[in-house]
Symmetry: none
Amino acid sequence: MNGEELSLREKILDTSRHFLFTKGYSSLSMRKIAKEIGVSATSIYLYFENKDHLVHTLIEESVEELSRAIEQSAAQKISTIDKFEAIIRAYVEFAMSYSEKYQVIYVMLSSEMSRYPKEKFRKARRGYALLESVIKKGIEEGLMELDEPQIAAYSIWAQLHGVISVVLNQRLDSKIDRNKFIEESIEHIVQGFLVRITTA
Amino acid sequence: MNGEELSLREKILDTSRHFLFTKGYSSLSMRKIAKEIGVSATSIYLYFENKDHLVHTLIEESVEELSRAIEQSAAQKISTIDKFEAIIRAYVEFAMSYSEKYQVIYVMLSSEMSRYPKEKFRKARRGYALLESVIKKGIEEGLMELDEPQIAAYSIWAQLHGVISVVLNQRLDSKIDRNKFIEESIEHIVQGFLVRITTA
Amino acid sequence: MNGEELSLREKILDTSRHFLFTKGYSSLSMRKIAKEIGVSATSIYLYFENKDHLVHTLIEESVEELSRAIEQSAAQKISTIDKFEAIIRAYVEFAMSYSEKYQVIYVMLSSEMSRYPKEKFRKARRGYALLESVIKKGIEEGLMELDEPQIAAYSIWAQLHGVISVVLNQRLDSKIDRNKFIEESIEHIVQGFLVRITTA
Amino acid sequence: MNGEELSLREKILDTSRHFLFTKGYSSLSMRKIAKEIGVSATSIYLYFENKDHLVHTLIEESVEELSRAIEQSAAQKISTIDKFEAIIRAYVEFAMSYSEKYQVIYVMLSSEMSRYPKEKFRKARRGYALLESVIKKGIEEGLMELDEPQIAAYSIWAQLHGVISVVLNQRLDSKIDRNKFIEESIEHIVQGFLVRITTA
DNA sequence: AATGAATGAGTCTTCATTCAT
DNA sequence: AATGAATGAAGACTCATTCAT
């Protein structure tokens, strides 16, 4: 197999992800995936034990990629404030560049997540943990004034997720420029957490 | 029908909403709704043309109630800054008090929304339009420094939605206090948009 | 509905029973049953919750009919010896006259029976319990000389079942007359349990 | 291949037999057999043309072993009455010691047996034929009083099979001692066929 | 001697919906 | 206002088998 040819396993993952993104979890069907690829439904079972496993793999891979992107981005910065912004921007960057992969992470309802292996949740918190540690440093350095870095980290993440969701789910007014919306939102979110330095 | 007895139509809506909230769209089935209520599946069709109509009604009603709650809350305040906060708090308040109704508004993917009658979208923007007009006034009054009130309104809404989603979808770390998380998030969001008055 | 027309429920039971008899449990499929009757597979689910319930109903009905046949037959006789033989003959009679119903009782492996509601097993032992009580009386009256009437009852039942199985499963040599085989077998089985009176 | 290592062919047969015994014919699947052994499903086809051939081999081997056991047991006895009992006991002995092999012989319904090569049926009758010849001698010697030795042989076999089935299919009341049940049943069956000698 | 990839036909079951009553 | 009967389409998944290697 050369570089162009995707393995069937890869094709299944890509197609599933796309279905999940465009049609939602309810419309994700083994049959449809197979049909889209042009292969028998049975073939999917050669690569994934069942539908749950397939979706779990999808989630796991997305979480891993997102975490890595965030870590790499933060590693390139030195100052705390730079790291702080880098994490936030890497998060948004990933969501916009790999929308389908990003959305997969949130596709499952918590009720359905009961079947998702618990130990994999920890992995999912890597990026968030990094953000928390940076916030802690930021507090020490007097960049932020916060009681609870953990809550702050979650709050930032939640706000970002809200902004991204609105865009990805096409709930944004068509007259609004997507990039401008994102840029301004990031700035406001960041500003909401930084101590404003007022040069007297 | 007396006060205690809910009409069948109401029961159907309530049950559907609950299913939607707890099990997701995929698990919303006419049969299950009927069974839960203790009525034949056919009976639902006496009140709703089909599943789409049922869900659309659900959305429409939720949107209406949310809009009204926001409007009423804003009307009670006089100053712009108070109105601004009132809208934000009314939004969050509604989401937390009537979680099932709130969530219904976002249950449908835009792809599925293609079947949702366009004219009803406008209604859905009433609350948001109010927020935008208040922001405009805020800018005039020098409370905020913003180029695009429309984007700002969308951004606030998006951030709030993110915070609420994290809570409702149970994605918050169990060690974090729910109310504290919400309160702090609101404060940060609001702070992110206000001009900080620095007493020199 | 007049006497000729069987209800769909009845048709399903009859057809299932027939499939079970001719093709075995492995070949019993909802689709095939439906197709045979000329109805959609879905329709079966209007009368039976699932395949298990259908088969359980089949078993239950057969067990009930067999028990009743045995009880009625025994009730018509007065002397213990007559009751003893009546039970045995009623059992065989039922098996030969309603072969399909008889076989249903034994169609499920004990491993599969784990899903069969326990309380229904008790019903299944009515006929056997009757036999046991008659044997007890027979011992008292000196007709039989047996230590354990319970074991004897089970043994008779087992032997009869063996004889019947061989016939119903067509394992009998085609040259052997079916009725003669059954008649002689019954006689031997009965003889095996009676005290032989030897007029000196 | 040394003494410990079973050939793959042997493993397949053993595993199939076990599945047949514990889960029934419906649950016998090439995939499951392969998985259990830890080999690819395709590998089975190197040794057996298809599922039918596999099951037929299973039956054939069981029949052969049972026949041999009976023959050997009978050969060790001299008197007719001893041979008679030896055959019966060897049959039961085999069934209890090699339950899985015994049950295989009866696993297929006659309807499914249509695919079973006719000439192999004859082999299956070796043990039975032996019993018939012993019965004939028994009649000549005045041990039994029977019109039709062929029917008698079939009847004994059928009764024994009934008794064994009840035990192997776990249809015996748990309070009943298995061995006692078998022993008493054998005695009754034998008694049912012997002329009772009454010492005046 | 053994396997991985693949599939068409089949398994049970659920779904939204219709129709006659 | 409400229902029981019915169905075609679709759901996830399993099966025996083939073929190329």
